[in-house]
Subunit: 168 residues, 2 copies
Amino acid sequence: MKLSEAKAQFISSWGAFGTHWGINRTMAQIHALLLISPDPITQDDIMEQLNISRGNVNMNTRDLVDWGLVDRVLIPGERKEFFSAEKDIWKVATQIIKERKKRELDPMLKLLGQLEKIDGDKKEKNVKQFVDTVSGIRKFGNQADKMLDVMIRADESWFLGSLLKFFK
Amino acid sequence: MKLSEAKAQFISSWGAFGTHWGINRTMAQIHALLLISPDPITQDDIMEQLNISRGNVNMNTRDLVDWGLVDRVLIPGERKEFFSAEKDIWKVATQIIKERKKRELDPMLKLLGQLEKIDGDKKEKNVKQFVDTVSGIRKFGNQADKMLDVMIRADESWFLGSLLKFFK
DNA sequence: TTGAATTTTCAAAATTTATTGAAAATATAT
DNA sequence: ATATATTTTCAATAAATTTTGAAAATTCAA
């Protein structure tokens, strides 16, 4: 298989993969392109390589920057703006975990905490099942939350870092 | 807060939450409804409570059964079919992990393995970056794969089970 | 300043995905 | 067997999401 063919396949499946994870196809494809680009590239490079419009590139690179997965790079003497992706896949993973935790898990846990405090007879089976379900999910979610915090901090702590290097 | 209000909120946010995880909104809402229902319920119950069409309920309950999250229940003397969800949230989580691993992670790892074997000079920086990226993701993915296998089997193995009970 | 290069915005269009509902298929009781 | 209840299918429709592209805003050099 030639590099060009492999690139196309990688970008396309990374894009499809992304859609299963709440990330839009194009954003994931741009990310894929940046991951395999040894040097920073411009909006125009992305437009050309993926055959998408300028507006589309602009919006999705902005999202990638917001997610902390891509950096804007200024190259001295160049007028255009360049983009470059974090290449360490462990850092990519922890960054995604960190963001999703903040955007999805934390708000959900907050809501569940409120829903547990409903009025009504805890002996009535509908009330009981509701409270049991909600508190079960909340407890599970809190454990997951703690576990993810450990993973996220692993890079910043020597001890946990060397422990989790195993998974790198 | 009253039960009816809390129910509505739980169903709606579980649905929104689901969309971030590659599951469609309605499927997640039906799942939420089943999670808080102490007894099995019918297609008609679901249609009525969520205000959605029969066809929609049918397709989404089928998907939930395929995902292994919901069971069809036959109640003696009843003509209609009833549905009931697994209530143990740990089992729900491992089931989801198991399915997503099979549907998404495993095929991706297979593809990455193929993409690594491209032709071309490994010293050329475009080739090098491609191979490095792909193999980095593959290695990370393989570790994740193993870790998830451990979690999935935790329920079936006494030793790992008691180890991971910690997270329950 | 002015003007050219570049980036950003956002309403309209295109595409993708989800939902409906009625007809067909299936299952069950008499 | 026949009638009735129930489930399933799927083409048509609706809704949600993504993409475009041209105009507006911004940046920067001279």
